[in-house]
Symmetry: D2
Subunit: 139 residues, 4 copies
């Protein structure tokens, strides 16, 4: 589990006065790549190794709209990984009150530069074991 | 069911060369409000009546990334409405081939300007019946 | 001169209730590529020919914020081209009233896939002459 | 002068592989509001006082596209203020090399909640003097 702090930006709000609902997917991405960097694995490095990790599904549930001036904490957790797919879950809270703004998840697969699916267990066994170890250690 | 045509814009792509996954939520919103206008009900008019329709959950499944130069058709369908909640489903296809780019759905509730939940059946009965009729007619 | 029609989307507004100022650069891009397509030259085709046209400067002056529910007309005009650089100017108006929302311009150069500057007069002479001709004909 | 650190996010890149040019206006806004907070004046507080500070013009010059994995430093400086208008200038550099990605500026006015122009010298004299003092102290 990692905790990523994120200030609400003005340009993220809409005329309802709260963050436009689609913008939380940006926060999820920031929190997910923050987690990977915390684990010593930057997504940039993965792409340099010829591995891309596209999103294959995402969902988001909205509890309370985050407002300009508020600061959010995005909890991210890797909940599944088998070398072919990886799943992250997110809880976004108001830093001041702990109230939940949104929860969500994203599923990812691994593909090469031609968008062909990869099994990291076979193609990048060391990376596969490193990721498993991180998850064991509680990510 | 309505069919909303949408060209892929350059600024929507990311360095993978396809539309960044969160941007499809923009297309869903465009298709949903397009459908409402097709039914004679603009979301602008609803807000002028003091009704907001925030998203309470959204999900999206990705089949194939849309590329710059491609044109998408976003099918939108209202699949649930009871005056308190409303659910839309979306299928986004490549206009040229019919291939599915993404599918998804969004759930909405109705709130007043203070974000208090509303039941349109009670507060706006004519609108409630109009929406029911549109759904019956196949939207 | 081309006229590109563009509905204000909800996700483009901010908590001031008008389109967030940076979003007009998206409209400029849409209007510019619309113009190029109107001239028979898609930006997609240019990239397929190995030519990219990055923005080297942009400016925007704001007169009145566009609001959700309004429809804009984006006038685009190519005002300079010499094979090395190209300049577009934009006027964005309210379709209903003709009021100006914003005006702006963008300057572009031409580069190859390694971001090396190109002179189309030398590298793509037919394209160079075609563009000159379009401009002569009043674009 | 303040220095705001900003990681390039994946969703900010476009298919050219660099940050889409319009996204730098988001960085400008982040750096400008960061500066205001550093001075003890949050833009949130200003809005709570009934003062909005819309952008009346913006410009941006592009030197080198920022790439995913890079970290930028956005220098912001208030270069003009007279109670009616305010001007910020920005220089965005690669943290690692000091190379300039982009430079730019934004002009702002002050309006009330009905978008009527305000002169802070007359309407909010203490705030006016505070801002002048910050600028004197080198912002």
């Amino acid at each position: 589990m990692t905790y990523y702090e994120r200030r609400v930006e003005y340009y993220e709000t809409d005329k309802m006065g709260v963050v436009w609902h689609g913008n939380y997917l940006r926060w999820f991405e920031e929190a997910r790549t923050f987690q990977m960097r915390s684990l010593g694995l930057s997504y940039k490095d993965m792409e340099d190794m010829g591995i891309m990790m596209p999103v294959i599904s995402v969902d988001c549930k909205y509890k309370r709209g985050a407002q300009y001036g508020e600061i959010a904490i995005v909890e991210a957790k890797t909940v599944f990984f088998n070398g072919i797919k990886m799943r992250f879950e997110y809880i976004v809270r108001d830093k001041a009150t702990g109230d939940i703004f949104v929860t969500g998840s994203s599923d990812h697969c691994f593909v090469d530069n031609d968008f062909r699916p990869m099994n990291l267990k076979k193609t990048h066994n060391k990376l596969y074991n490193d990721i498993l170890k991180w998850i064991d250690e509680g990510n």
